[in-house]
């Protein structure tokens, strides 16, 4: 498209929008090509959405943590493993200058059996416990309900948990590990690939459910540190590392999330699985787009040759074909993107996956769509370049 339109200076005002007219002339054909490209785009959007949801499902609980710096065992390679730390660490951390608070998060993935109000059967759920006076989540529902967690046996449940857990029902009571619990509120988090649902409670309730003991549980999963206002995170990070034993990993929230993401990516192969789907969508889209552009170009070949004959440079014609491809891309992408919002909602609702449209997915899908259409147009444009203006006579 580097070939400048030589007379542009004089005619720029309103040149005939040839590509636009060509695309919009035949509505039936436009609908057909839009559907063809659109479904390929939808396929890519679905794959990108799944990939995003896969990681988001694992990461959303970490994102919901309300802290600046986190402490966990160096032996921990994944959030959903038990590598408890002694709670005494928090006192050490709190003494470090710049630390405003150091709160414990207790967590368990493998020992809490929740009795579903729906079918009365028991299912494994994830449990979090924290001191109701120092909430560690940013989830508003959790913080609103945290005061009521002081009552022994009080729990908050996840209304986005998988349906069979019955947490979306209005039950006020249930059992965990055979012990009666009081449901004092709900929050929205959703399942991930380890757990189907989550309950939150006070450390005392947690200890009694887990170990049948009163008082605090023996170890914490995560130390949640908030910085005093004005404190430099790096300085505090270094100070904490110095103050704490070497088997304690001290990391920022970003690092914590990146660490989990790296593990999921390494272990799950979600990346390659969804990449295959995206690539296939791209190739299929390219084929469809090539077919469309090729047909459009062949049908208008005499017209293009005529334009060449009357003095349009080849560059102009290439630009028109590429513009057509870009318009086709837009005509396929826009409905597909809108449709994907519905698809995401539907799958998000059915699968309880955090399927969310993001600027990243929007731009990547738009880029891929433009890429596949322009790439196929570049292949198809050869016919226009080779169109012989002498052949029109």
């Amino acid at each position: 498209m580097a070939v400048a339109f030589p007379l542009a200076g004089r005619t720029r005002a309103h040149p005939v929008p040839l590509a636009w007219r060509t695309i919009t002339a035949n509505r039936w054909r436009l609908a057909r090509s839009s559907a063809g490209i659109g479904f390929a785009v939808l396929l890519m959007l679905a794959q990108l959405g799944f990939e995003n949801a896969f990681f988001n499902a694992s990461l959303q609980v970490l994102r919901a943590l309300d802290g600046d710096i986190f402490l966990q065992s160096v032996h921990k390679y994944q959030f959903a493993t038990q590598d408890p730390l002694p709670i005494s660490l928090l006192a050490t951390a709190k003494a470090v200058p710049g630390v405003a608070s150091a709160a414990p998060l207790y967590a368990d993935w493998y020992d809490l059996f929740w009795k579903s109000p729906r079918d009365g059967k028991s299912y494994l759920v994830r449990g979090f416990a924290f001191d109701p006076k120092t909430p560690v989540f940013t989830l508003p529902d959790v913080n609103a309900g945290s005061a009521q967690l002081q009552t022994p046996g009080a729990v908050l449940t996840d209304r986005r948990a998988r349906r069979f857990l019955g947490m979306d029902q209005d039950a006020r009571q249930s059992e965990i590990n055979g012990v009666k619990v009081e449901i004092v509120g709900q929050f929205a988090l959703g399942p991930d690939f380890v757990s189907d649902g989550t309950v939150m409670m006070s450390p005392a309730t947690f200890a009694s459910l887990m170990h049948g003991a009163a008082g605090n549980p023996p170890g914490i999963a995560l130390g949640v540190i908030k910085l005093a206002s004005g404190a430099d995170p790096n300085t505090v990070l270094k100070a904490l590392r110095k103050a704490l034993p070497t088997d304690i990993a001290v990391m920022t929230k970003d690092r914590l999330i990146a660490f989990e993401r790296a593990f999921q990516a390494d272990v799950s192969s979600a990346g390659p699985i969804f990449a295959i789907g995206t690539i296939v969508g791209f190739v299929v889209g390219m084929l469809i787009s090539y077919q469309i552009t090729f047909t459009e170009v062949s049908d208008q070949l005499p017209q293009y040759a005529t334009l060449k004959a009357i003095g349009y440079p080849t560059g102009y014609l290439m630009r028109v074909v590429l513009e057509q491809a870009a318009l086709n891309a837009a005509a396929g992408w826009i409905p597909a993107w809108l449709l994907s919002l519905g698809l995401y909602r539907l799958i998000g609702y059915i699968a309880l996956l955090p399927m969310r449209m993001s600027p990243g997915i929007t731009f990547i899908s738009l880029g891929l769509t433009l890429g596949m259409c322009l790439l196929s147009a570049v292949i198809a444009v050869g016919r226009v370049i080779r169109a012989d203006p002498a052949a029109v006579f």
Partner: protein, 375 residues
Amino acid sequence: MTALAWRILTDDKGRTGLALAGIFMAILLVFIQLGLFFAVPQGGMLLYDHMRFDLLLVSNQYEYQAQPGAFPASRLAAARSSPDVAQATPLYFGVVKWKSGVGDVWPDLFVISFDPGSDVLTPPSIINQRAALMRPDTILVDSATRPMFGPIEAGRVVDIDDRKQTIAGQYVLGTGFMGLGVALFSEANFARLLPHRGLAMVNLGAIRLKPGVDPVRAAADLQKLTGPDTQLFSRAALARRETSYWTTRTSVGLIFGSGLLISIVVGIMVVYQIVSTQVSRQLPQFATLKAIGYGDSALAGTVAVMSLLIAIAGFAPALAAAALLYDEIREKTLLPVTLSVSHIAEVFAAALVMAAISALLAVGGLRRADPADVF
């Protein structure tokens, strides 16, 4: 009709090539999604596929293989007392810390404990090496155990829950959804490692029936002996149960299921796009045929044959590519993606359905062929 369809397709080789490429990609996509869709329950079935049993006795808390709940060993003894039962072998599961990971990492190890004297686990590499498990604190480790566990070499001594264990060798079974690493323990070593856990609670009871006993009837009879806190599955019932768990209780089924659905729609769009362009390009010829007295159905038949030819021609290379890609996916994801005859038949059926639907859509364009337009 077939001849005409064939002529139209071979006449415009470039366009037909494009159609083939399109349907090839679409079918390949269906293969991938279907492969992944079934790979997950197959991953769940991995251990069972390598276990010898006619009936499986499990807790009524049973979720899936790696989360089966537990039942008292006495239930298995009760089953053993039945005249139908030839053998009843317990398996014990546990999750422990492998403290010899790469770096400071302590990955969770899934432990399967069984009587090394029994042949309940069938992989030859287990049968051949199981005698080693009789030695104290000696284990066999699954060859698919992740690299973060460090090298899995015979003779390496590792720290598992603060107890030194010697790796006797690797066996080939697969980790499935049990965890990142799996190891086999003898019952004695297991009890030594997890003294609180002990052997009083059994996770799986592998029951072998005497020859000629009907598993379904035996299951009903045994249920009376083992009590309401247990349940019994025949192999077929277990396969149904696992498949249903993975496809309905997790997101996996939905993800690949919807991927499958979209790929079929995309396949339809590709074939439709190409066939309908062919039709509209050949519209005058079709109109001529109409003018000389061909019926709509004959022309529709031609379009249908065109679609079918494209679908069938695209299927074979897609099958070949899928076979290659499955190997790749298996290696990358450790999912047991396998090309079974039933998958091939299903995908072929999907290809035919795609062709049929796209033909149906393209025939709509054919109706625009007006015989009066010829003149």
